[in-house]
Amino acid sequence: MTLKECYAALEGDYEGVIARLRSEKMVQKFVLKFLNDKSYELLETSLKEENYEEAFRAAHTIKGVCQNLNFTKLYESSSKLTESLRSGKGEETDELLEQVRKDYQQTADAIQAFGAEG
């Protein structure tokens, strides 16, 4: 699996990220690092503990990282979740969280597959 195929699998914007960060090597390094980022776990635990301030920050971080790496699909859902958490728990939070979970899983699967081959 190539990096390009990985981006296709996680529904990201490969051309966009290469244009911005300008080095396939660098992008690859950070894509692989993505799974080490603890923000997703933090998001889940802080939501469980109803600490919405922390959850907002976690979602915000995921959004920022996805933005940096042009993980378009996860960026969009985490972005919506961030907004719904901006001032405490919103009406749509649960629904949006479901979407983020799905997208995160999809992204993680793609990266794992890529990492296993690379």
Binding site: L21, K33, F56, R57, H60, G64, N70
Partner: protein
């Protein structure tokens, strides 16, 4: 790029301690000549810096150029984001990282201007990016350290707010690597250029001031030289002028002026007599009294000096020239209008001239001149205060009276200081030539050196060291201190921090805060002992702190530095010593000395109180010792003590006076007989087979007064009477016992002691 990185790749673990020595040696020069050849060309060394999370950072100093690689601080809570930026910039810049706002503030506080750029995220835990900007504004760091905000928060309110708080640039995520890189480089270059310009200007101003003050000194010295005055006259006048000026400004707000103005007046004071250049030296140096005509010529030096300044072809309008003009022209005017040349009166005479006039008179009186001997300081002061040298502004006279005590000392030390300053200047020039450094850059390096030294000693000393800044309210603890207290190194708003309050307690915190606020710049040090809670245990600690006051007038409280040491064990030892010195070791009762002090205190405290003092003695105690052994005797005494404790009230005083003698002291309202009777009977009984019987003599202050010795002696005599009457009873002292001997304290040199059962 930088050979520093290769240095580290060879020996990551061993940035040697010796480096700081090398660093020191650079200032001395010749010692390390072995190194010099290779080193001068391209030797550089690295100082590892650790930020609060222990991530290793490197800063290197090129010995040749002394231009440290610039440092960028990245504040972002996402490790990912930080490492993307580090990847992009780490080749060219040193990177420090902070994962929240508080950490960023603490790094800024610690490293200040050695940080060339801050890349700042908005959303972060503990303190967000705007919080960091607020602190940077409050401390005016924002003026020296450029900030680029990087955030996914692209809403225009955020962008606007960021620019309002002084950020140089706002970059939204996702960013283009090339653009970000370019913006970072541009910002750093721009600021570096600006900084260099500021340094250059500052150096030039410094240079210019030095030169002009040198010229003034030379010029006025020429005048003095012709005058046959001591070369110190000008320095004295300057010192006196400064002293009086400062004092006057403190005394009366009408005379408050900016520092720069004061320093102008002081510099200009040196020019007061330049007009004398036009007066013939026959007159200037005439030993005897001047004729009227000669005096008239002499007087012209004021107007001549003034017109010399007025006619200067250049520099007209310079404040220094304007002030020098006032001083030259009017430093012989007097407050009552009887001076010369214009006969100005009162506050029509500029204050600069009034002050120089007074300084001139004082120094003339206390110095030797061809026409007079030197007067002593005291005589000179008296002559001035009596108006023998003309009338001065009454307020100025008050100032003079208040500072006259320190005048002599000030003149001596300040003149010396001036000479030292010259020497310093030479040293500075020497350094400048050799090091090719600007003064400001060198200061930075010295500061860096001091910082290393400080943190080294702080770690070594095993003391809790702290630094408190009032704005923003923040405490920084030494690494050791933070560990020992189990707290963060940086504590924002400590007065409302739960952990601080739990550890120190609100009362202690208030006491320390208040004590620091109540200090003065002259006496800024406080010492407090307090009990604090460390890891759940209470311990006695001693805090020594020094308040930091600004140099403004009036001084502002800026914060404090200090250390706290554990004195718990010492305190316990002292408590134990106090206990030992005041208590009888066998029974734990007070000893006689200590009881005496307490009783005297009590009687003084309650002058209207009625007191009784009883001395009691165990009958036939010797038998107990003889028949059952000393151990048994001791047990009897301990048992007796328990009985005694049981029958007295908490406010009463009980003590062991000697072997088997005890003392009870109590205050009574009306029925002292009943009280004593109850005590007496509750003491009787048995300890094992030994029958306890007590003899007791009581004296009352109502009868014998409140002198302790008399009271004690009377009780003793009453006890003697009891022994004589066959023991096992108690008696109150009365006048019939006046001539009795005593049991315990033979007085009047009598050795005829009642030896009953000892």
């Amino acid at each position: 790029m930088c050979c520093c990185s290769s240095f580290f790749s060879y020996g990551k673990t061993s940035c040697p301690v010796g480096l700081s020595m090398l660093y020191l040696n650079r200032w001395k020069g010749p010692l390390w000549s072995d190194w010099t050849a290779q080193a001068l060309s391209a030797y550089r060394f690295c100082i590892k810096m650790f930020n609060s999370h222990g991530r290793k950072q490197e800063v290197d100093y090129m010995s040749g150029k002394h231009s440290p690689r610039q440092t960028i601080l990245i504040a972002d809570d996402s490790e990912m984001n930080r490492s993307i930026l580090t990847d992009m910039l780490g080749d060219e810049y040193e990177i420090m990282e902070a994962e929240n706002g508080i950490e960023a503030v603490s790094i800024l506080q610690k490293y200040g201007n050695s940080i060339s750029l801050l890349l700042l995220d908005i959303v972060m835990p503990q303190m967000d990016g705007f919080g960091v900007l607020a602190v940077m504004n409050k401390n005016r760091w924002i003026e020296d350290i450029p900030v680029i905000m990087i955030s996914a928060e692209s809403a225009s309110v955020h962008v606007e707010r960021a620019y309002e708080l002084g950020v140089t640039d706002f970059i939204s995520r996702p960013f283009d690597a090339l653009i970000l890189h370019r913006r970072v480089v541009n910002t750093i270059l721009l600021y570096a250029k600006q900084k260099r310009l500021i340094d250059m200007v500052a150096d030039q101003i410094y240079e210019k001031e030095q030169q002009s003050s040198l010229m003034v000194d030379i010029l006025s010295h020429i005048v003095e030289f012709r005058n046959g005055e001591s070369g110190l006259h000008v320095l004295h006048i300057r010192t006196l002028t400064e002293l009086l000026l400062k004092h006057l400004a403190q005394k009366d707000s009408r005379y408050q002026m900016p520092r720069s103005q004061m320093s102008l007046i002081c510099t200009a004071s040196a020019l007061h007599d330049i007009g004398k250049i036009a007066v013939s030296s026959e007159i200037l140096n005439k030993p005897g009294r001047l004729t009227e005509e000669e005096f008239a010529t002499m007087k012209t030096h004021t107007l001549i000096g003034a017109s010399m300044l007025e006619d200067l072809p250049v520099h007209q309008g310079e404040p220094l020239i304007k002030i020098a003009y006032e001083i030259c022209r009017w430093h012989h005017e007097r407050y009552d209008g009887r001076g010369y040349p214009d006969g100005l009166k009162g506050d029509d005479i500029p204050i600069s001239a009034q002050i120089v006039a007074l300084a001139d008179v004082y120094d003339a009186l206390t110095s030797e001149r061809v026409y007079k001997k030197a007067f002593s300081h005291d005589t000179a002061v008296q002559m001035i205060l009596e108006g023998q040298c003309g009338q001065f502004n009454p307020l100025l006279m008050e100032c003079f009276k208040e500072v006259e005590g320190i005048l002599e000392e000030e003149l001596r030390t300040n003149t010396q200081a001036k000479a030292n300053q010259r020497q310093m200047k030479n040293v500075t020039e020497e350094l400048l030539r050799h090091e090719e450094l600007s003064a400001s850059e060198r200061t930075l390096q010295l500061l860096e050196h001091e910082r290393m030294k400080y943190s080294f000693f702080a770690d070594m000393s095993q003391e809790i060291q702290f630094e408190y800044t009032a704005a923003p309210s923040m405490v920084t603890l030494s690494v050791y201190g933070a560990k020992k207290l189990g707290m963060e190194e940086i504590i924002m708003d400590p007065h409302n921090n739960e952990k601080v309050l739990e550890m120190l307690g609100r009362d202690n915190l208030n006491i320390i805060t208040k004590a620091l606020h109540n200090t003065t710049p002259e006496q800024p040090v406080i010492k407090q002992d307090h009990e604090i809670r460390i890891n759940g245990q209470k311990r006695w600690m001693r805090t020594v702190g020094r308040a930091m006051w600004s140099a403004d007038e009036p001084p502002r409280y800026m914060g404090a530095i200090g250390k706290t040491t554990d004195i718990h064990d010492e305190r316990l030892r002292i408590d134990a010593l106090v206990q030992m010195a005041s208590h009888d070791p066998l029974t734990g009762l007070f000893n006689h000395n200590y009881a005496r002090e307490r009783i005297r205190e009590r009687m003084e405290l309650l002058p209207k109180g009625r007191f009784a003092l009883a001395i009691l003695d165990l009958d036939h105690f010797k038998d107990a010792n003889d028949n059952y052994g000393h151990m048994f005797g001791d047990h009897v005494l301990i048992y007796m003590t328990e009985q005694l404790r049981r029958c007295i009230r908490s406010g009463d005083i009980a003590a062991r006076v000697g072997g088997d003698e005890f003392l009870i002291f109590l205050e009574y309202k009306d029925n002292v007989v009943a009280a004593m009777d109850r005590i007496f009977h509750s003491l009787a009984g048995h300890y094992e087979d030994f029958k306890i019987s007590v003899s007791m003599g009581v004296a009352r202050t109502e009868i014998v007064g409140k002198d302790y010795d008399t009271l004690f002696h009377a009780a003793d005599q009453a006890l003697y009477a009891v022994k004589r009457a066959g023991r096992g009873q108690y008696r109150f002292y009365d006048d019939t016992m006046k001539e009795m001997l005593s049991v315990i304290s033979p007085i009047d040199g009598s050795d005829d002691k009642f030896v009953s059962d000892r």
